[in-house]
Amino acid sequence: MTFWLVQALNGISYGVLLFLLASGLSLIFGVMKILNLTHGSFYLLGGYFGLVVLQETGSFILAVLGASLAIALIGVIIERFFLRRFHLQQLPQVLVTFGFLFIFSDIATVIWGANPQTMPRPELFAGSLQFAGFYYPTYRLFIIGFGLCVATFLWWLQDGTRVGAMLRASVDNEEIARALGINVSLLFTLVFGLGAFLAALGGVMGGPILGVYPGADFEVLLLGFVVVIIGGLGSLKGALVGGLAVGLLDNFGKVFFPELALFTIFAPMALILAIRPAGLFGRE
């Protein structure tokens, strides 16, 4: 029983990190129709930036905020100067976001080397919690709680605010939204920045349990894709359900079938594709 609970919590905390990543990917696609391959870099650079800020200031909160804001700024620059001109042109978007993925991955290796880096847990959550006769690291519980807060916030942003209404309007019909006086181009920049912010958030928050290492960018990009394929591109609910599903599948897969680990993720993905090509919550 304890075993199942511990493994389930491990899967859920990983799933929450994947949700942070995939919600950004999904949001950017939903609003701007851009498949952002640089998303993996935002996650990885977020982790490295967080590490630097943590070493300089010793504050985990500053590391989380500073790194995520810096990555959001990078995202905004990429959107403004490189992606803006290729609105709805898929191939150039793929080239540009691929290009940055490779450049950032190489730059990260130059600066931080090929060895994995470990990030210490924040002091407040360094310990373990004891309940029902077993110990569980509080930091993972904190990630779960934090992720659910972010999910609630995004929901409120999308469904309960004026900005959210503008977003939904631009998704449904961009031209009419423009005609109604909504500043769609500013909205696009904000969305891309927010998406980058969320990916970096995942990178910093995941640092203490997963480490920060070269290749993580490609790894999480792929998992992010699987999450949105299962959940449906452009759907917040899909990112959450898909993220938790992939987190649990990955964790239990690694425990029970270590040599087939990828299959426990890809087999359900193939099944969903066969039944619902647009994902569980995606729109055709």
């Binding site: 490189f82 490779f102 394929i229 087939l260 890809f266 647009a278």
Partner: protein
């Protein structure tokens, strides 16, 4: 000059260029050292690889982000068949192409449930499945270490392609056959139907074409040619590793197609030559090839979206006007 005259002069200039290319390729082994001959072999193989992807991107309008899967699967297939079962090239090569065809059918059936960005993501995810198998199934594939020492093909029991020159002609012949077949495919009624699908799926549907079946056929045909390139590359390098199926290789062949110019067969071949040569020149100076090629991706998107062929065409059009 009348329009018909202009087009026939273009055509005769085209065949003259083709003959000249064949002539040059035939005498190259007598002029070049082993190292440079190796570069030409790489260019030939990647040209075929890029041309086959262009059947999807340029002619059918489907971009794949996981195209190296087929290149790599065939490379592993010939490697394993040659090493574990000691099959000759005459058995191993066709068997590898059949295996690639089957894998492409399976992947195509899944990927073609979708379109647009979903299609991009799914092709990438599926190629990572193949990568995961190559990486994880150590007892068969050697995992990260790959399969070293794949034997050079033997045309008959006592006729090994030991020399660089005879191996070069073996590659040239097979790539040549591949390119001719591809050229035949794109100018056949099937090829024109694919172009129709690129322009408007709904219109082709209305004309009575089974669009889905055409797309699946294009997906499989392209993959088999990519497989031919991959199998030849395994024989050339005498080595296969999971990198053959990786994201980087998929992205690289995509760049070759777009850099050269999608929608023409000559474009991707030029793109392949440029990237192979550039990689060899630049890696002599720096290990940061990823930064360089990443920058090329962005520059191509910004300044040469129609590729080198499009650039030359624009230049000619402007000169003709003035």
């Amino acid at each position: 000059m009348s329009a018909a005259g202009a087009s026939s002069s273009v055509k005769s200039r085209g065949s003259a260029a083709l003959l000249l290319t064949i002539l040059v390729l035939a005498v190259l082994p007598y002029l070049l050292s082993t190292y440079y001959l190796g570069l030409v072999i790489e260019i030939l193989i990647f040209a075929l690889f890029a041309m086959s992807l262009d059947l999807l991107i340029g002619y059918t309008g489907m971009a794949s982000l996981g195209y190296a899967a087929y290149f790599g699967v065939a490379a592993y297939a010939v490697g394993l068949l040659a090493m574990k079962l000691h099959w000759s090239v005459w058995l191993a090569l066709p068997a590898a192409l059949i295996i690639v065809g089957l894998v492409a059918t399976l992947f195509g059936l899944l990927a073609l449930r979708t379109r647009g960005s979903y299609f991009l993501m799914i092709t990438l995810a599926l190629s990572q499945v193949a990568w995961g198998i190559a990486f994880g199934w150590r007892s068969l594939t050697g995992g990260d270490d790959g399969l070293p020492n794949i034997p050079r093909p033997e045309l008959a029991a006592d006729w090994p392609l030991a020399g660089d020159r005879s191996f070069y002609f073996f590659i040239l012949l097979l790539v040549g056959v591949g390119v001719l077949l591809l050229a035949h495919v794109v100018t056949s009624p099937f090829g024109f139907a694919l172009r129709g699908i690129r322009e408007s799926e709904t219109r082709m549907q209305a004309l009575g074409y089974n669009v889905w079946r055409y797309k699946l056929a294009a997906f499989i045909v392209a993959a088999v040619f990519a497989g031919l390139a991959g199998a030849l590359y395994a024989y050339y390098n005498r080595f296969v590793s999971p990198d053959y199926l990786g994201v980087f290789r998929s992205a690289e062949v995509l760049l070759m197609v777009i850099l050269g110019g999608a929608g023409t067969l000559i474009g991707p071949a030029i793109g392949a030559a440029v990237i192979v040569l550039l990689e060899n020149v630049i890696s002599a100076y720096t290990e940061r090839w990823l930064i360089v090629i990443g920058t090329i991706y962005i520059l191509v998107a910004l300044f040469a979206p129609d590729g080198i062929v499009g650039f030359v065409r624009d230049f000619h059009a402007r000169r003709a006007k003035s």
